[in-house]
């Protein structure tokens, strides 16, 4: 190699990197080629550690033909301090250890020669530095200066690109997290809306035992009462007190936030009956209630292993609520000839529990039918629905290894078919593990 080497030729030789490489891989390839073309033992690229900027952390450290572990070193007493202060190349073609006697790294590397160039962001902020060093004095100082300066700028550009990429990635992650958070908020809003809807039903449910407790107490307070009646009245007060307590316990279970629920063996027949009961107690629209024909066929005592049974009950209430909504809409539009019908059916078929909830209401147009269980899909005006009701319902069923299907014909009917696997029949002996 002689001084006759052309700078542009050298730069082109180094620069001729595989187009597919980018980012860190690209920088590594450049460093490798730079070391080879300039015939130097060390190349490093690093940045001053913020906020004090008193030391440098290498991001790439190339020694003797390979990349080695990165290091940190003090800026004070190091030639790099000058690099980071200036805007151009700093060069010590020989005797660099004598010039910087306190620089331990130079000693460890047995460096004779040193050349460093800073690189900057477009607004002039220092991003880092490129350094080449050798155990021999440098020979082609002028050529090396141009090459190092050029590639410092090129590596700087790559640093900025990486930085932008990282920022973008961070923004995306933040956005995704935000969407997830908002979705969780909406899901709990949807849950609260359902609980709100059934609170009225629960209040009515609670009034029943309380009324009986009040009536039985009044009976006890009246003067003429025989001992048999007294015993029965006291018994009633106790029984209905227990029932009122159960209702409250159930309500509290609904409001509970429980993330790690274990499967429990649940009488799904009772769960569905209770959902229907609570729902209809909560409804006070007399015009629909007095016209509505309910046909309820629930096989008793069908037991399933369910995760989050309060959630499953809310799912039933949501589906029933949709059915009644569709009936109510159709009734309002009709001229009186329409008889709203709700069919609820629960039975066991081939070891699976099938639940069908069918209404003869407005139905779902074919174009919507494919999407009604999608997240955030709603046809209601803004603010009236979260678009999560059926999505949550379907998730709840699927969480319990069930299937959730909807059949519908516009203006004729909608039928929701829910199937759960693994029914326990009462005859089956208790499985103990």
């Amino acid at each position: 190699m002689g001084t006759s080497r052309n700078v542009l030729e050298v730069i082109r030789g180094i620069y001729n990197v595989d187009q597919l490489l980018s980012g860190k891989e690209y920088i590594r390839e450049l460093i490798h080629r730079l070391a080879k073309a300039l015939n130097v033992k060390y190349v490093m690229v690093g940045h001053a550690i913020k906020p004090q900027e008193k030391s440098v952390l290498t991001d790439y450290l190339y020694s003797d033909g390979k990349f080695i572990d990165n290091v940190t070193y003090e800026l004070e007493g190091s030639p790099c301090a000058d690099v980071l202060c200036g805007t151009r190349v700093s060069c010590y073609g020989e005797n660099v250890q004598h010039l910087f006697p306190r620089d331990q790294l130079l000693k460890d590397m047995k460096a004779q020669s040193y050349m460093g160039a800073p690189f900057f962001s477009p607004d002039g902020e220092l991003l880092g530095l490129l350094v080449v060093m050798d155990a021999q004095p440098f020979k082609e100082l002028e050529l090396m200066t141009s090459v190092v300066e050029f590639f410092a700028a090129r590596i700087g550009a790559e640093y900025r690109r990486l930085d932008v990429e990282e920022t973008l990635k961070q923004h995306n992650e933040d956005l995704e997290k935000l969407v997830q958070e908002r979705t969780m908020q909406l899901i709990s809003q949807e849950k609260l809306a359902t609980i709100g809807r059934i609170t009225l039903g629960i209040a009515h449910e609670l009034k029943n035992p309380l009324n009986i407790i009040i009536n039985a107490s009044e009976l006890l307070m009246s003067s003429e009462i025989d001992s048999e009646s007294r015993r029965r009245a006291l018994d009633m007060i106790y029984q209905y007190g227990v029932r009122a307590n159960d209702i409250i316990t159930n309500m509290l279970k609904q409001a509970r936030q429980d993330e790690n629920m274990q499967p429990e063996r649940i009488d799904v027949s009772t769960l569905l009956s209770h959902a229907l009961d609570v729902f209809f107690r909560s409804r006070n629209d007399i015009s629909l209630k007095s016209k509505l024909r309910k046909s309820i066929h629930i096989s008793p005592h069908v037991e399933l292993n369910l995760i989050d049974s309060p959630g499953v009950e809310r799912m039933f209430i949501n589906v029933i609520d949709n059915a009644v909504y569709a009936l109510s809409e159709k009734l309002q539009r009709s001229d009186g000839g329409f008889i709203p019908e709700l069919r609820v059916d629960l039975h066991v078929e081939r070891g699976r529990c099938q639940i069908r909830i069918r209404d003869n209401g407005t139905g779902i147009p074919q174009t919507h039918l494919l999407h009604v269980c999608d997240e955030f899909y709603t046809t209601k005006p803004p603010g009236e629905g979260t678009g999560l009701g059926l999505w949550v319902a379907k998730q709840m069923v699927e969480k319990n290894r069930g299937t959730f299907d909807i059949l519908s014909k516009e203006n004729e009917y909608t039928e929701v078919i829910i199937e759960f696997p693994e029914v326990f029949l009462l005859a089956e002996p208790e499985v103990t593990s």
Binding site: I212, L219, K289, S290
Partner: protein, 136 residues
Amino acid sequence: MTPSLPPLDVVIVDDESSVGIIYEMRLRKPIERGNIRYHFFENAKDCLDYFEHSVRHPGLEVLFTDINMPEVSGFELLAKVKKKFPSIDVFMMSAYDDEASIQKSFNLGAKGYFTKPVNYRDLQNRIEADYGVNLQ
């Protein structure tokens, strides 16, 4: 004692069986005296069956029904009774205390409306006033 007076048929319909037991205990004396014939049903269907298969005594039959019951509601029962057996007086007994429920009951032909918990004294006064029967 007024043994010459014909008995009053009191029919109560409520899906809570305890309601039936409480009124039976309350009305024990007039029942024993023969002033009241007491009937209790847990659903509207059984009540309608009873009316279908019994003889009418106009002015001497009174039905008290709950509104919120599974399958057939108290409103439906009221409407059916007033249509098929108009001589039977119907009173509603419900936890609903809203104007719409009360208005609807009267529109369908109810004679009165008691909100739950029903104050027995009020009920007693009403029966005694309307049917001249002594409930003491």
